[in-house]
Subunit: 330 residues, 2 copies
């Protein structure tokens, strides 16, 4: 059992930008021990007034698109501007492997040795909601520790994107050029979530195909509804490997921030994110209590089957379960 | 106070295809009186084994796209094939006007006099969730009354589309050709929900622009992720006014049904819809109980403000409210 420090020690360490203290506080945040939960809540409460000042960027794309190389390249570029960068990951698949997309540090070797960058492998062994929750808290701690930019990597397959979209200011989708490759594995809805699309691996023989992909996507997006941000979804190319395009992407992101701060979307979006987060937590908690109730559990499987097959109305099954739950409670 | 009949009378009338009995049963379903709720639940239970055989089509598009004319034209075409058609509407805006997009029967005059068609104006005075709930129940009653095709009209502005998508087999988006018009008022995400897009008003001077819009959208959609249905999103033209294109749309829908029945999506989707409906009802009920709790209400406004402004963590505000709720309950 690791020794825990006091709330004051952790807070002072984080605010001083001490990476070891930050890492230890994150470990406390990810812990499921009740004492740790209380400690984590107290640390978060103390550091909260010092968070919120970073720009938060979600980065997604299917496996093979080059996310790690991109983050290495983009993160290195940002540090070259003097920015302090924190890299986090939401990776529900790591539950299975007990590994992590960022655990393989060799893929971001340069960035991991950069004093301006902080890389935190994703939490493992948590359900998706738990990962998202801890990621949000880790983000706030990293902000309190003085990081200017938070990069959150996700795996491009669905639900985790919605969660990351819900805690970031800007959502970047990485894609590849070439026949059919653009679509490979990307779920419906994710493209419409993106604030910008970067066609990666725009180098060598692939450069021309990437340029063609850019104009094809620009034309296509032109036909789709405008973003709520008021900032049109841009498409550009980059080569993470050759470190090309990083400046253009950063310029675009700064323009996005400028536009959305001016039109009020930036603040509105963060406020809505905070409120939605609270409501999601309440909903989760109410549902957890309901579905973990012993009497509900006893009935649930057979009722779900009947509803699925159309033998029972969803309405009466819901009524039945809710009555069961309330009788037990009262 | 209108006299109510027995469950048996309503059920027998509905199964015999008696339109007056169907209308009266729908009125009971829409009622908020506790006695009516019980009666409605019993009618639904009795008729449930006879529902589920219709093909359910959601139709959306912004005001001015010609939805009512389209439904008049498409519905008339379907009845010419001997199909029995029921037309419903989900229109949250009707709450304000106390009117209904379908209440204006003159806009569907021909269809409303067609013995094979049944048009039900949308319920008024209900919150969106309530409208959706009663629409789903009305749909089941119409199916039990022998209708082959259910058309559900919605207004193209957001949440109601998600609800209608969740109770239909096929989702048709109506759009207009011409500079910028395609996008006017359509919310992000709705295009990706569509199983097909029909460019309406493809007549006269507009025919060429409509044809161009078709190829533009076909190219654009080609770049987007494939639908879960396994059926590619098609784009076609129609003129509801001149009754052109109805046959092509119906042919497409039949192909969609054939494909999705063969690949298992049709059944899987309906089963998921049933289950999701049950879970949504449970979630709604749990949340209603929570947010209507007097102690929760007292704290809610100030906590929401603090969370919105970032002064309070969503996590601790949620905890606070949940504790308040549980203390009152226990």
């Amino acid at each position: 059992m690791r020794k825990r420090l006091s709330v004051e020690d952790y807070t002072a360490g984080i605010l001083a930008g001490d990476r070891i203290m930050l890492s230890q506080a994150i470990t406390v945040t990810e812990s499921r021990l009740p004492a740790d939960k209380e400690l984590a809540a107290a640390i978060l409460k103390e550091t909260l007034p010092h968070s919120g000042n970073a720009f938060r960027i979600g980065i997604t794309g299917v496996p093979g698109v080059g996310k790690s190389t991109f983050i290495e390249s983009f993160g290195t570029y940002l540090t070259s501007l003097g920015k302090r960068v924190a890299v986090l990951a939401v990776d529900p698949s790591s539950q299975k492997s007990r590994g992590s997309i960022l655990g393989d540090k060799t893929r971001m070797e340069r960035l991991s040795h950069n004093p301006l960058a902080y890389i935190r492998p994703s939490a493992t062994g948590l359900f998706l909601g738990g990962i998202a929750r801890s990621t949000r808290e880790i983000m706030l701690l990293c902000e309190a520790a003085g990081h200017d930019i938070i990069l959150i990597e996700t795996v491009g397959v669905g639900q985790s994107e919605t969660l990351v979209k819900g805690i970031t200011d800007f959502f970047l989708l990485l894609m590849l050029a070439g026949a059919g490759d653009e679509l490979q594995g990307i779920k419906k809805g994710i493209m419409e979530m993106a604030d910008a699309i970067a066609i990666n691996k725009a180098d060598g023989d692939n450069a021309q195909a990437a340029a063609l992909a850019v104009s094809a996507y620009q034309n296509a997006l032109h036909l789709f509804p405008k973003a709520d941000s008021g900032f049109p979804t841009e498409v550009l190319t980059c080569s993470a490997l050759q470190e090309n395009g990083m400046e253009a992407i950063w310029k675009l992101i700064r323009e996005f921030e400028k536009t959305t701060r001016a039109n009020g979307f930036f603040d509105q979006n963060r406020q809505n994110q905070n409120l939605n987060w609270m409501h999601d937590l309440i909903r989760q908690s109410l549902e957890n209590q309901f579905f973990s109730d012993a009497a509900v559990k006893t009935k649930l499987t057979s009722l779900e089957e009947a509803v699925r097959d159309g033998r029972e109305l969803p309405d009466s099954a819901a009524e039945d379960l809710l009555r069961t739950f309330r009788n037990v409670k009262s």
